[in-house]
Amino acid sequence: MIKKFDKKDEEAGSGSNPFQHLEKSAVLQEARIFNETPINPRRCLHILTKIIYLLNQGEHFGTTEATEAFFAMTRLFQSNDQTLRRMCYLTIKEMANISEDVIIVTSSLTKDMTGKEDVYRGPAIRALCRITDTTMLQAIERYMKQAIVDKVPSVSSSALVSSLHMVKMSYDVVKRWVNEAQEAASSDNIMVQVGMVLVWLFICPPSCFSFIYPCLYHVMFPMHLQYHALGLLYHLRKNDRLAVTKMLNKFTKSGLKSPFAYCMLIRIASKLLEETEGGHDSPLFDFIESCLRNKHEMVVYEAASAIVHMPNCTARELAPAVSVLQLFCSSPKAALRYAAVRTLNKVAMKHPSAVTACNLDLENLITDSNRSIATLAITTLLKTGSESSVDRLMKQISSFVSEISDEFKVVVVQAISALCQKYPRKHSVMMNFLSNMLRDDGGFEYKRAIVDCIISIIEENPESKETGLAHLCEFIEDCEHTVLATKILHLLGKEGPRTPSPSKYIRFIFNRVVLESEAVRAAAVSALAKFGAQNDDLLPSVLVLMQRCMMDSDDEVRDRATFYMNVLQQKQKALNAAYIFNGLSVSVPGLEKSLHQYTLEPSEKPFDMKTVPLATAPITEQKTEIAPVATSKLPEKPAPSRQDIYQEQLAGIPEFQSLGPLFKSSEPVQLTEAETEYVVRCIKHTFATHMVFQFDCTNTLNDQLLQRVLVQMEPSEAYEVVHHVPAPSLPYNQPGSSYTLVRLPDDDPTAVSCTFSCTMKYLVRDCDPNTGEPDDDGYDDEYVLEDLEVTVADHIQKVLKPNFGAAWEEVGDEFEKEETFALASVRTLEEAVNNIVSFLGMQPCERSDKVPENKNSHVLFLAGMNLPDIYFILKGSE
């Protein structure tokens, strides 16, 4: 019956999907034939296919029906039909998480994996590992160990890959298989087999090929085998740098057969290089470089890619990698050309000059029939070429931009964005191009890239502001992406009021209030308010529009309108600045927590905003280049910041509960060299009257267990060490934290900075490096750390004032203080700006930390907040 069906389908040649209109309930009904004896393999096979198809279409199976189908399927193990059995394995894997009691097939699978039917063994192992949980793992451990070293490569490979999956679930058990994995990685029966099959290939007539192919399959597996074994070995050791280094040494010396394994080795080596900040004179780098001469293209490419992605690569080190990629550019294989040009494209972002050597090859690729390659070639040239070639290239690209996929359109946009930073004069050409792209069809990521790009052009080039805003206004008239619409509305609110003719934006904004979803309407109301607050002549009409918004059907929109209405009616600059331009500067999760606390313990006193920790590092406003769009996700709920997490952690320690809200947490400061016995870094947490020093310590000696670890601190000023919270125990390679609480000097406000000499004190218990079993008794020891500085920046929290002017006026003249400082040691303006920003730890506003070229005076706007609650705004110029 099935056969007929298939045939008809083939004849029709329509490619129509025979499973298109499957109904879950009907399929489950059909699955009852699994219970019939004798089993009809063909029919059962077809039904299993349907079930798997449905599962893969995302059809939801309830636990009961899934379990019923699963148990019915288990009866099919009666049949010895090979195809059916393998379909059962697939079904088991698909249903492992939706059916109950899937362990029922454990014995059936262990029987298959140890049986004599080789085609069953590998797949049975893979299925078994999907249904096994930590409690069952012990029961199959013996089989797994045997399978890893099995002489049939497909079995061994399956066991290795499955072990790799199980590392996540049960590291400790899988760790015990390391010797087996080691054996698999260096097994040499591979060569014998390869040799044998090759001989066969030469001496056999073609009619024997059907016999040879299965053998070839067995030859291919050993290749993967090394790769899989290496993968498992690496994952078992990756937390132990020393072991990884040893492993790399071993394999880089002995060499590997499999190109896949080589590629992995290159990846491991470059990761290790990065972690250890190893210089390029390291043997690891030599190894990677030597792979540029490997006979497999795959390995050569991997090595080149690893080198170009290394941080701090010099032009000289890049050169050999780039020339390999250059060669690949003229390869007849599209995949290689693609890989090469894509990688060159990335290199061009950081080292455009290193890629200029390839310009000619890239020019040839512009007309490549593969559009993806062409796009990448052009966008690379845009980065490396001269300003004069920009127009030509842009024209070329517009000829086919409609043919390429969104993903590549995003690449084009990114190239444009980079170009605008490099050649600011080109921004009008680009803006034009972008606005055309904005009108085209395209998905969210693409549109977002364009919008981000336009926004960054506007920010970099004040003269492009009005054109840019106009394009964006046009875009939101017909924009289906809420996120983009609200983002643009926010921008309009921020920039619009400061343009020569703010009134022209009002119409676009108000249209949103009439036409769009709640979120967009709310954003539109906020934008409107900003116009009203800043432009007196627009205020009356803004008030009228607000009035209308107060009738909105949505709560949030009404609330905002009512709020802004009342603030605007006061007509006070300070109020406008505080509540309309420069919104909240507290951390949102922090606010949520404080409010919750307040509702739990209601009091007569009104809620005090000052008890809420400030928001930290408003990086989004600072960044200048577009982040690679593909990796960033939609903005969701505000994630707790680093500081919110610290606040939570510290609050969990009883000694620190009475310290009040956490004001600021510093970046970690290293107190030891990277490669020492103990690695210690410190994070300084500032509270109103105290500081907590958090020492994150790692013990890198596998023959020691440290206990009661604390850091003793000797201050140079009147700081008083109040309390230590030791880390109870530091086993090998498991980081732990020790805390020291210090009271700030309250009588001497000038003593903000202080130097502490630090010593780590602890009890050592020697232990067996293999088992980790510690000796019964230990001895006290200490370890001198580097000095720790507390600086001005630790007492100041960054606050972002999006509208610095308004904030400055809000503070008023009577608080203004002017002083002149000479900065003797700095040579350039840029250096001065950077030094001031990092010394004071304040937030640069209005992008004033970017010093335009060829200027000899500059105004820097900084905003910060001092302890306990003094706002601190600084305007500096030279």
């Binding site: 219970n35 004896t37 004798p38 288990t74 193990f77 009666q78 362990i103 014995s107």
Partner: protein, 194 residues
């Protein structure tokens, strides 16, 4: 050649297929019994046969879930569902009751302590809706008869109150699965009931 394959080869007839459930507490010897009934690898010469038998007995580990084995006798082709007897898996037996056409219930006759547990499981089985009203034959193996303190098959049938089973044919025989003793008798009975 396995114990029951002798005739099968000669006759070459298509045999009637029977699904058998093999139940009983853990460690009672179900898997060992079925392994004995299974045909062994026929390429092996007579000499290796003993060796293999031993290896089979040694290799037996507690079953997890179930496993399906097949063997043939002169007239029938058996498909046995060898279920796991461990407590946590016993409630999974019932998934397979419907298609069981016969039951082999194995008792470790040296395990007096758990005889009540075996009885409880048997009663639950007999009262299950999928079993209760069907006249399916039940073969009991009072296994491990070789052990010193093993109870006799009569004693076992008393302890399990087998005489109360009225509506189903049943039979009990003492067995030693490791040596294969008593198994033939049981299977002969099973064949006869059909």
């Amino acid at each position: 050649m396995g114990l029951f394959d002798k005739l099968a080869g000669w006759l070459g007839l298509k045999k009637k297929e029977v699904n058998v459930l093999c139940l009983g507490l853990d460690n009672s010897g179900k898997t060992t019994i079925i392994n004995q009934l299974k045909p062994t690898n026929s390429c092996l010469g007579e000499k290796n046969w003993c060796h293999l038998l031993q290896a089979q007995a040694q290799d037996i580990v507690p079953t997890i879930g179930f496993s399906i084995e097949k063997f043939k006798t002169s007239s029938l082709s058996f498909t046995v569902f060898d279920m796991s007897g461990q407590g946590r898996y016993r409630n999974l037996w019932e998934h397979y009751y419907k298609e069981g056409q016969a039951i082999i219930f194995v008792i470790d006759s040296s395990d007096k302590l758990r005889m009540v547990v075996a009885k409880e499981e048997l009663d639950t089985l007999l009262n299950h809706p999928d079993i209760k009203h069907r006249r399916i034959p039940i073969l009991f193996f009072a296994n491990k008869m070789d052990l010193r303190d093993a109870l006799s098959s009569v004693k076992v049938s008393q302890l399990l109150c087998l005489e109360n089973i009225k509506d189903k044919p049943w039979h009990i025989c003492a067995s030693n699965a490791v040596q294969g003793e008593g198994l033939q008798e049981g299977v002969d009975w099973l064949q006869g009931t059909d």
